[in-house]
């Protein structure tokens, strides 16, 4: 199957997604911000629509507008702390409303399905370059901000007292979430990005390891989820987004069974 150029493109993008999604996902899940990932993934459809309208690459269009919405959520959340959930609903309505209006009015001509469900066939070489650029910058920024992000996630007050500029880090993080979503749109699709951000991390958390090890396991599970999704979707001719989401749930269930069943059984046997 790798004799096809589209499959090679899809494979490169899939590998990058499998690294970037859990890198961002672990902080989103542990900060209980998973819903922000979900809201922003829907908001990215507006970015795709605006990008196509302005004749930009849709991945970069999604990145621009999703970053804007991510920063807007952060600004509104810090001003109206008691209405955090409501803010997500407002942003979701605004962005999805914008996307549906642009697309349904026929202002852009595209196959919306491929953005919603993901597609192997539509990953262009331009998309690959955009994904590589966004992924490399995201990974470098996460590496640079790693201790600050871990401390903010673990003990926000302690981090601020130690000199972490939480507002600045949170704004940068919002842009990183936007970048992650934008690179994932092509393969996994807007509707299942949030599952790819959260589920590999959820599976890794079951193993009760330290932070770095949990992150490594998250990347491993994400890699398994996306590549299985890619290969299976190729053979059964289905959208990769759906197959990837199903694989992610299956891996999570298997890890829970392993942990609750086999590990608990071994522990009991050791004690008796």
């Amino acid at each position: 199957m790798f004799e096809y150029a589209f499959m090679q493109n899809a494979f490169i993008v899939a590998i990058l997604i499998s690294i970037v999604c859990p890198l961002i996902g672990i902080f989103l899940v542990l900060r209980r911000y998973s819903m922000i990932g979900d809201a922003l993934s829907h908001a990215s459809l507006a970015g795709v629509a605006v990008g196509l309208l302005l004749d930009w690459n849709p991945v970069l269009g999604a990145f621009g507008l999703t970053s804007f919405f991510g920063i807007l959520i952060e600004v509104l959340r810090s001003r109206f702390r008691r209405y955090a959930e409501l803010i997500l609903v407002i942003i979701l309505s605004l962005s999805v409303g914008l996307a549906i209006t642009i697309i349904s009015a026929g202002l852009v001509h595209t196959n919306v399905e491929s953005f919603l469900f993901g597609s192997i066939l539509t990953v262009s070489t331009d998309d690959v370059y955009a994904v590589i650029a966004l992924s490399v910058v995201s990974m470098a920024l996460i590496a640079k901000l790693y201790p600050q992000l871990v401390m903010l996630t673990f003990d926000e007050d302690g981090a601020q007292i130690a000199g972490v500029h939480s507002k600045v880090v949170n704004y940068i993080f919002s842009v990183l979430v936007a970048a992650t979503i934008s690179v994932s749109i092509r393969i996994v699709g807007i509707l299942v990005i949030s599952s790819l951000i959260a589920l590999p991390v959820a599976a890794a958390l079951q193993l009760r390891k330290g932070f770095r090890q949990t992150l490594m396991y998250s990347i491993f599970f994400s890699f398994v989820d996306i590549l299985s999704g890619l290969f299976l979707s190729y053979y059964i001719d289905a959208a990769p987004g759906g197959v990837t989401a199903l694989t992610a749930v299956a891996v999570l269930v298997l890890v829970i069974i392993y942990k609750e069943g086999i590990l608990s059984w071994r522990e009991k046997r050791r004690q008796s």
Partner: protein, 222 residues
């Protein structure tokens, strides 16, 4: 030195939680902030730490290295996947301290080096508190602030912990400020108590506070 002059605080233009607080923390002090639940003790500490901004008044600070030991059960998520070593290493990196051996030194000082590979959530209350103090000591603080250090830890660990805090204050010259609900330790260790009641605060000697407390308690029984 930290100096609070006529400090008022309220959340989002509501009623004042703290009113006209005047407080000076001098080098070498061991001050316990005492008062009923909801009296504004923790708010006062957050103002001093710079986590909250006063609605009115001025707070000046000359301490360069402040460190904070949070209340374990209130602040930290016990399910968080992080080892003791990682907690200290991240703190070291945030403070831009190059010397990695500081982690070992501080953990050994608190007698918890053996726990370095354990998850923070798997530790007992006393062990966790010691790890958090070890973390705080890494930055060579001149002011150490605790939020109810005895909460969630057993009596034996409390008896171990307070002499250590006292030692840091007396022999290493670290100024200590603590929110304290345990009257015994507040009176036994502090050089001064700051009593917060009904949003107002005043300094008193440990003995004077104890006399006042006893008279109120005994009066209540009558």
């Amino acid at each position: 030195m930290i100096d609070l002059q006529h400090v008022y605080f309220s959340y989002e233009h509501g009623e004042y939680l703290l009113e006209d607080i005047n407080m000076t923390i001098r080098n070498g002090d061991y001050i316990s902030v005492v008062g009923e639940n909801g009296s504004g003790k923790s708010t006062l500490i957050k103002l001093i730490l710079g986590l909250l901004v006063p609605s009115r008044g001025v707070i000046s600070n000359t301490y360069r290295h402040r460190a904070y030991v949070p209340q374990r059960f209130e602040t930290l998520n016990s399910q968080f996947p992080i080892t003791v070593w990682e907690v200290l290493n991240c703190y070291r990196q945030v403070l831009r301290l190059k010397d990695k051996s500081l982690i070992r030194t501080c953990l050994e000082q608190m007698g918890v080096y053996d726990l370095k590979d354990q998850l923070i959530g798997s530790l007992s209350g006393g062990q966790c508190q010691k790890v958090l103090i070890a973390r705080a000591l890494m930055g060579h603080p001149d002011l150490l602030i605790f939020d109810e250090p005895s909460t969630g830890i057993d009596v034996r660990s409390q008896e171990e912990l307070y002499p250590f805090i006292k030692d840091l204050n007396e022999n290493r010259g670290i100024t200590v400020l603590t929110v304290e609900h345990n009257l015994k330790f507040a009176v036994r260790n502090s050089t001064k108590l700051f009593h917060v009641v009904g949003g107002h605060g005043h300094f008193c000697s440990p003995k004077a506070y104890l006399d006042e407390y006893m008279s109120v308690t005994m009066g209540g029984k009558d």
